[in-house]
Symmetry: C2
DNA sequence: ACCTGAACACCGTTCAAGT
DNA sequence: ACCTGAACACCGTTCAAGT
């Protein structure tokens, strides 16, 4: 890659970070190009699709997320690990408005630039679930697909402005729906160690 | 309303039913007008916003839904009523692609044409929840807002093509997250510990 | 009263022309 | 190699002109 190209590439990426923080993942590409001071066609050759842009934008976050999952696989109790993982996920979901919807549709489209990242998160989740199920602390009648769907649904909900105020509580309800018992305090008021 | 206006109104509505069944709630208004053989401006004066169109389109469904809720308030056990209500909701959510997202954003916007319908469903849900909580068969630490958020999240999930195959099971998981025990089989043998 | 074409300001895609 | 303006086919909004 030529020097000017590289400069454009990284500059667009940094401007994109600001723009989607403001307007969410459906922000206008044209507007983004304008704010980056670059031709629209230039932006689109670096990132042919919206998803390609977000893949580049989120790859470090997504890698950190799956990295965290592998750490959790050997640390602490299986149920605590699962809850911690869920917590990480929700924090990620809240980082950029609309990112969950994007990933939910990408994770079944092998052509999507986000497909691999989704698959990684999906399988990391499934491993943590399986470990907890082995100990009997997670619902036995749940598949990796179910867990991913619940994660996506929870992530979508907390992303809605109207539901965001209840995010912590919704997290708690979903978490207790996944786990079978014990490790999670149900009683209201106490913060059940969800802070990472 | 003049005769020709009335004819346009109802014809647009019937064409809209087909178009959104095909393309979901984000179908192009322009395309809809074309298919209805009517000027775009005409369509937009009958239905100034997309939500106004869907309010007119869904009002019978939505009325039937809240009607069903009031019936359930006095019929059967509170927990069974709640599950039946949840079932009705999911069926509605699946009737038109994207309708849940539309309602989730409408339900906090008093200016939306769908606001009243959302509020009606919200409060009907809250009443059914309260009755079940009175009998101790629904989580005590859950508000009407939480229930509505869970309903929306579930409705969103089953609307995603990738999650639709697991719709029944996701329904089951969410239902058992709301209820405390008993009427719904949760996991084999073990008591779920979901009691509040 | 009601309908309509057209102008407007957007959007993402594509490509020939520039350096 | 890489960038860019412009043309293209869309979108929803608005309004003056028609009946």
């Amino acid at each position: 890659m030529r020097a000017d190209a590289r400069k454009n590439y990284s500059h667009v990426l940094s401007v994109a970070r600001d723009v989607i923080a403001e307007h969410g993942v459906n922000a206008s590409m044209r507007d983004l190009a304008r704010r980056a001071g670059v031709g629209l066609a230039t932006l689109l050759r670096h990132f042919p699709t919206r998803e390609a842009l977000y893949e580049a934008l989120l790859c470090t976050n997504l890698d950190a997320l799956t990295q965290k999952a592998t750490e959790l696989e050997t640390a602490g109790s299986p149920d605590e690990a699962l809850v911690s993982w869920l917590h990480e996920w929700v924090e990620f979901a809240q980082s950029y408005k609309g990112v969950v919807t994007l990933m939910a549709s990408a994770h079944t489209d092998p052509d999507s630039a986000l497909y691999a990242s989704c698959a990684a998160i999906h399988s990391a989740s499934a491993r943590l679930l399986l470990r907890a199920q082995g100990k009997g602390t997670a619902r036995a009648d749940m598949s990796g697909d179910d867990l991913f769907a619940l994660m996506a649904a929870l992530g979508w909900a907390v992303d809605q402005p109207s539901f965001a105020p209840r995010a912590d509580h919704l997290f708690h309800i979903i978490a207790s729906a996944i786990l079978t018992s014990g490790s999670l305090e149900i009683t209201s008021g106490t913060d059940s160690g969800l802070t990472s």
